[in-house]
Symmetry: none
Subunit: 193 residues, 4 copies
């Protein structure tokens, strides 16, 4: 019977607070104050700060779009990289993802939320890239999909988040070449359609 619009409003505030202050400095009192809500309304919904944040993350409307068929694996990968780069540098998500990643090491609920609501959707968006490449004959049908989906994100995350380095177009260009090789890509076999 919890008022849904109130829940949504609170979640919005949680995400804003997380983005502005990070996980540690986001407080229940602060969220309640900013949402103009009693603390009881928070604890009626979630049993702890960790719970609340995990739930808020679940509802983070990730700015994920489908990767359009560019006609080649190379083109598709370029688009996929751009998506990840934008994702990580996003105002809201980018600022909290490292915090959440760290916190998830201790908090299974948060870990689950992150996997299901952030990583899985991202992977789902990238799957068609592999399908199309296999159909084109650019990738072998038995390509290691797990590894392929990892490699679309890992190097960019590493550079941007762990090493705190700029993501330049040159980097992405070189990365694209190497990633094609990583995947064992071949030229498209023949005209499809």
């Amino acid at each position: 019977m919890l008022r849904v619009e109130l829940t949504d409003a609170i979640v919005e505030v949680v995400i804003d607070e997380l983005a502005e202050k990070g996980y540690a400095r986001t407080s229940m009192d602060g969220v309640a104050r900013r949402a103009e809500v009693g603390k009881s309304s928070l604890y009626r919904r979630w049993s702890s700060k960790q719970d609340m944040v995990a739930d808020a993350v679940s509802q983070l409307s990730v700015p994920l779009v489908d990767i359009p068929d560019s006609g080649s694996l190379r083109g598709d990968i370029e688009r996929a990289f751009e998506m990840v780069a934008q994702w990580l540098s996003d105002e809201r998500l980018g600022r909290i993802l490292p915090d959440l990643t760290a916190e998830a090491k201790r908090n299974p609920a948060l870990a689950k939320a992150l996997t299901e609501h952030l990583e899985n959707p991202r992977r789902a968006k990238a799957e068609p890239v592999l399908d199309r490449a296999i159909a084109r004959g650019e990738l072998p049908p038995d390509v290691d999909r797990e590894l392929a989906l990892d490699i679309f994100a890992a190097p960019i995350y590493w550079r941007y988040t762990v090493r705190r380095t700029e993501i330049t177009p040159e980097f992405l260009a070189t990365l694209t070449d190497s990633t094609l090789a990583f995947l064992g890509a071949r030229p498209a076999k023949k005209r499809r359609r």
Copy 2:
């Protein structure tokens, strides 16, 4: 003239506390208590918890060993991967690295400490792998060293820390093949020695 041996003792305690409890639950009071030291002795040395941790990290004796020449790039990479995997699952370092990475986004001092004392040494240890491969003719002399050094760590970090997945020998085996392709490796040109 702060007593150096006291500073060292405190740093030891900080590292232990971080490893045991993580960044967030490490407290100044706790460190002072465990080091049998007044809090003033902490704040005389560092201006905040973040500062103190950054400094402690600088003095983290990273368990990095030289990568011995295995005779082939493949062998060297396998050893390099093992090193990274051990590093991340290390009792002390592995438990706090995600915390520190997140914190570093807001704390330049910590960012600098991480880069200089963790990432740079790691890269330095991996450089000879590239040198040897070039000498063997397995890698072109103009290989993108930055990218190569990234790719030794990024996929493993992604799997282990971000996706919270087991690092299996099978994964490392497949990863090795793909990484060789990623780097554009060729068979060694001629018999060495």
Copy 3:
């Protein structure tokens, strides 16, 4: 058109809660829960906790019995003292009377309820003692009835409730003697009947 039987059931619960937990730890939520009633049913009847308690007290069936004619003022006083002592050490009333007394200082409704439903009935029960004593010639007809009715309760309340001391038979015996003097009692003039 509030359901009367519901009101009565709630009042019962209020009295029980008061007796078990005292005024401060009696909560509206607790009463509602125990009476299996919505909180609205409470606030529909009373505007606050204080109001509710005041009303409950009004309906407290005080265990007051008539003081039988013992044939002498001394005997009647002894019975009256016993009655007060039992009253104050009563399971239900005794535990809350100090609370209510304190609360009544700020709450006129409660004050009125206490006076009308507790003190006045008690005085009414003691009046015949005076009447009989006057008839017997033990007390002058113009005895200060107000003061006399006070003195039947005041010393015992003081000892038991304010000073938190045991009420012993010895105390009551001495008190009886002194009280007879206090009232200016004389031996009975003659045989009545």
Copy 4:
């Protein structure tokens, strides 16, 4: 090592809050706010609200003065009654005494504080009245001192605090007569001095 002047300032605030709001509505947060002090400073000194109040009561500088020798028991009693009446109608003490009395039923620490710091001093002030009366021959040497000390306070407390009635000079006059009888007072045996 607690700062004594801070403790004193807090105690002052506690007493003021008690007098203004009563026990129940006196809050730790409120005291901290008014004393411009952190809550931790409260809990460093006392383990709970009950503790704090008990201690504050201990330090209540009771406006007790010695009862001067009026030359007769009657005069001394009149003065003693006035003292009690002023005590109970005192701005600070009178407003909280009923609260504290009620609370003390559940709180032994508070009970002890009340006995030692309020009731015992009051009794000590009244003792000389008895001594002098015995010396004058107005009271027998074996008078029941306990009961005598009770009767100096009980009727007035009952009227003023329990029955919430005005204390009038007429009442006190009548009470004085009856109290002399209660005590079994006789005329002074002989000229003193």
